[in-house]
């Protein structure tokens, strides 16, 4: 019996790493130094999309809810500024009780007025203010602040994942008075309630925060401060960990880095690993012949030996888990035994490829049929993944040429232009594992222009809405399975490759941090401590 590798990894990680202070008593003091491979354009979490903002800036803020920092699946909402909440029976009203005595870094008290102002900015931004996650909250009718310590969200329809959406790491609670004066103030300034106070940002170099002595969660944070170093070159990031100049890098290193650092540093280094909520997929352009024929699309997926690739590619690239539409090991993911029933996931690859050849023949595709596969000019993991795909397709008689396009031009000149490609690499990365966020990409193109396979499928649209509104997790799971089967097997609108795999290197001194499938989560640093 094949093990559920995703679950195994998550369970092992949980066992090895453990939550903050599960084994030892946290020690106070020290500065956490870490590298960040990207840098934020502005400081406003409501506006930006890059982890280059979250990693250095999240420690200055709190959110209404957060993802439980000890949960390796990164899916459980936990209290942050809200200490408790209730939902009405019809699922249309959520009421949150806020903590008392929470202070902004300027000493003023945080109340429901601040939460309402922050969420109003996210959900109902005034003209000229961009809120990238506004669409996530279309379900919200109104945000109310009936008293200083109560916030109420009234919804237009019941939403199964509403609490998860409020645990978004981006939804920093800002100060209402500041927003009232200038909606753009937070793009260039910091003023939060978080465990660390802003000290310095030297562009292109580093970001420094120091302990908030008045933090509402008494006894936290443990660190005196932190220093995030912006280091773009991967070789330099590895050298800094090896030279003990960086204690952690919260995104991911490669399997080769893991081996090299383990050999060089021995017990001074440890790693936490997890299936990663990022995936490369293949967009199959439905407006191009012969890819409008689902037999051809199905042959493309049937040619892939994902189970074997999981073993081999994971040695050289940041990919590993065989996945459907949800991160393996998380609550709505399809178990491997069920996944193996889908086209392209069959355990018998010879049978699968024979079926692929049969379908191609039936569709009138001659042996040696050529097409161009467009790929983004980002080496890891796009390059090894493309080489693998081309090799797999060759095994069913397809002759595929790869064309690599510069990363910055890729969306503009390839994916967003249906005339510009036949088959191309596409990518999705989530900040929290939730079907609403993860599968929205696959609804019809007229509803979501980020669907680069350019199809219209009302059945999928309908299933999306049903799963989103389902209150009962089992009912939701059922709709997600149906959605997945239609997307990946019945219609084969896209091909999933392998789930990315996160390998977080950390000095043995670092404790109290838990890896999750999202590199946007667990960056408040309130639970992190250093043993030396």
């Amino acid at each position: 019996m094949r093990l559920n590798k995703g679950l195994l990894v998550l369970a092992l990680t949980a066992l090895l790493a453990g939550p903050a202070g599960a084994q030892e008593k946290p020690r106070y003091g020290g500065e956490l130094v870490y590298t960040v491979p990207s840098e934020m354009p502005s400081y406003d979490g409501h506006r930006e999309q890059t982890f280059g903002l979250i990693h250095p800036i999240a420690p200055h803020y709190n959110t209404l809810l957060r993802v439980d920092p000890t949960d390796p699946t990164g899916t459980k909402p936990a209290p942050d500024l809200a200490e408790s909440w209730t939902a009405s029976k019809d699922g249309l009203t959520y009421t949150f009780k806020l903590r008392r005595g929470v202070k902004f870094h300027d000493g003023s008290e945080m109340t429901s007025k601040d939460v309402k102002a922050s969420y109003d900015k996210i959900i109902f931004p005034p003209a000229g203010v961009a809120s990238v996650r506004k669409a996530t909250y279309t379900v919200v009718e109104v945000v109310e602040a009936p008293d200083p310590y109560t916030v109420r969200f009234r919804l237009k329809w019941p939403a199964g994942a509403f609490l998860q959406s409020l645990a978004s790491p981006w939804n920093f609670i800002y100060k209402a008075d500041i927003l009232a004066k200038d909606m753009h103030w937070y793009e260039k300034n910091i003023m939060g309630t978080g465990p660390f106070v802003f000290v310095e940002h030297v562009k292109g170099s580093h970001w420094v925060g120091k302990k908030n002595p008045n933090y509402w969660d008494k006894g936290k944070p443990y660190l005196d401060g932190y220093r995030a170093m912006f280091v773009k070159a991967h070789a330099t990031q590895v050298a800094m960990v090896r030279g003990e100049r960086s204690m952690i890098q919260f995104r991911s290193f490669t399997p080769a880095d893991r081996e090299a650092l383990t050999a060089a540093l021995g017990p001074k280094i440890k790693f936490q690993e997890s299936a990663w909520d990022c995936i490369l997929m293949v967009a199959i352009n439905h407006t191009k012949k012969p890819f409008d024929d689902k037999r051809v699309r199905k042959a493309l997926t049937l040619a892939l030996d994902r189970w074997e690739a999981s073993k081999t590619l994971s040695k050289i690239a940041i990919v590993k888990e065989v996945a459907g539409v949800q991160v393996p090991g998380t609550p709505y993911a399809t178990p491997p035994e069920e996944l193996k029933k889908l086209a392209g996931y069959w355990p018998d690859i010879e049978k699968s490829r024979a079926e692929a050849r049969r379908l191609l023949k039936e569709a009138g595709i001659p042996d040696g049929f050529s097409f161009t596969f467009k790929n983004r000019g980002t080496p890891m993991p796009y390059e090894p993944m493309a080489i693998w795909l081309i090799d797999q397709w060759r095994k069913v008689g397809l002759n595929v040429k790869q064309e690599v396009v510069e990363a910055a031009a890729y969306y503009g000149s390839v994916l967003r232009k249906p005339d510009a490609f036949q088959v191309a690499m596409d990518f999705q990365c989530g900040y929290i594992v939730d079907p609403d966020l993860d599968i929205y990409k696959f609804v019809s193109n007229d509803k979501n222009p980020d669907n680069y396979s350019y199809y219209t499928d009302r059945t999928l649209d309908d299933l999306y809405v049903k799963q989103s509104r389902a209150q009962d997790p089992e009912e939701r799971k059922k709709y997600i399975r149906e959605f997945e089967r239609r997307l990946l097997d019945d219609e084969v609108h896209v091909l999933m490759t392998l789930q990315w795999h996160r390998i977080v290197p950390m000095s043995a001194k670092v404790h109290g941090w838990q890896v999750t499938p999202s590199h946007y989560l667990n960056n408040q640093l309130d639970t992190v401590w250093l043993s030396q």
Partner: protein, 317 residues
């Protein structure tokens, strides 16, 4: 001489205007824009209205001619605008990195000059002896090895042999000279070696040419002291092409050390340049191209003036 200098100086203006027009148009031809890179390429959903708001905010919804006129009017007032990526004034973005890049360029130039001139002269004097071969191998090795690769080797060498790494955060010289030099001396050596290789070969060939001139033979025949012949007669003339090479390399270093800056984590202009292009930050890229073009043109101008000063025949032509 003054007329020559003024004429050469005024020629810089149309060249810079040409560069400004060219870079403005070239950037608009490349696919993708800053809004797309910032919001679409992250793999998360972004609605169309967000993209529209951001484009409007940056003026990217305006016709091309209007964007160009706005930029040119700003330039006339020495206002380079704000970075489309960070929203910060461009002068602030450049100022932050300029000191580091300038210091590194000066240090690398010093390393290159101190190596190249003595080595080039010795190699020319000892032509086809083992000394010459050693110098030639040294300079060919410098040319063959990319500076960034040498930088990676240095870092790995420090780590494996000495368990030490150079500082990774820039400290200005006036704040802590030791910390500053501990960070910059290594990239200066890595870059200086390649830079010196070019200049060494140029010095050697120029010296060989000059040493065969009639006036050198005459000076020797007169019984002049060899050192005096070399320094006062040979080297002064041989240095003309070397000055050009050193000047152009210096201008290149100021904005061209992209990979070396990445390897040593230097927050310099080269890295800023690449990021500006990758982010499709039109305003910042335009300003950086203009800055580098200005430095190139200025160095050329100064080299021409130096030529004219050293060789009066040039300004008379």
């Amino acid at each position: 001489m003054a007329r020559y200098v003024v004429k050469r100086f005024l020629l810089m203006i149309p060249t810079l205007i040409g560069v400004a027009v060219l870079i403005f148009l070239l950037l608009r031809v490349i696919p993708g824009d800053v809004v797309e890179v910032r919001f679409v390429a992250q793999g998360q959903f972004t609605s169309q209205d967000v993209l529209q708001i951001e484009r409007a905010k940056l003026g990217l919804d305006q016709p091309l001619w209007k964007q160009f006129v706005t930029w040119m009017v700003g330039l006339l007032r020495f206002d380079f605008g704000v970075s489309m990526w960070t929203g910060a004034p461009i002068t602030e973005e450049i100022k932050l990195r300029f000191a580091l890049s300038l210091q590194l360029s000066l240090m690398a130039t010093a390393v290159a000059t101190l190596l190249a001139i003595p080595l080039g002269v010795v190699a020319a004097l000892k032509q086809d002896t083992w000394v010459d071969y050693v110098v030639r191998v040294f300079s060919i090795a410098g040319l063959a090895m990319p500076s960034f690769w040498l930088g990676i080797l240095m870092i790995l060498g420090f780590l494996i042999v000495f368990r030490w790494l150079p500082p990774m955060v820039y400290t200005p010289f006036w704040v802590d000279p030791w910390q500053n030099l501990a960070q910059l001396v290594w990239p200066a050596l890595a870059v200086g070696w390649r830079y010196s290789a070019v200049a060494t070969r140029m010095t050697r060939s120029a010296m060989l040419e000059v040493l065969r001139e009639d006036y050198i033979r005459t000076a020797r025949a007169k019984g002049l002291w060899l050192k005096l012949i070399l320094v006062r007669h040979a080297l002064k003339n041989a240095l003309l092409p070397v000055m050009t090479v050193i000047g152009l390399e210096f201008a290149f270093l100021l904005g061209g050390l992209v990979v070396t800056e990445q390897v040593f984590n230097l927050n310099g202009l080269g890295l800023l340049f690449v990021e500006a292009i990758a982010h499709r930050d039109y305003t910042l890229t335009q300003a950086l191209v203009l800055l580098v073009a200005f430095v190139f043109i200025l160095v050329n101008f100064l080299t021409d003036v130096a030529y004219a000063w050293v060789d009066p025949r040039i300004r008379l032509r």
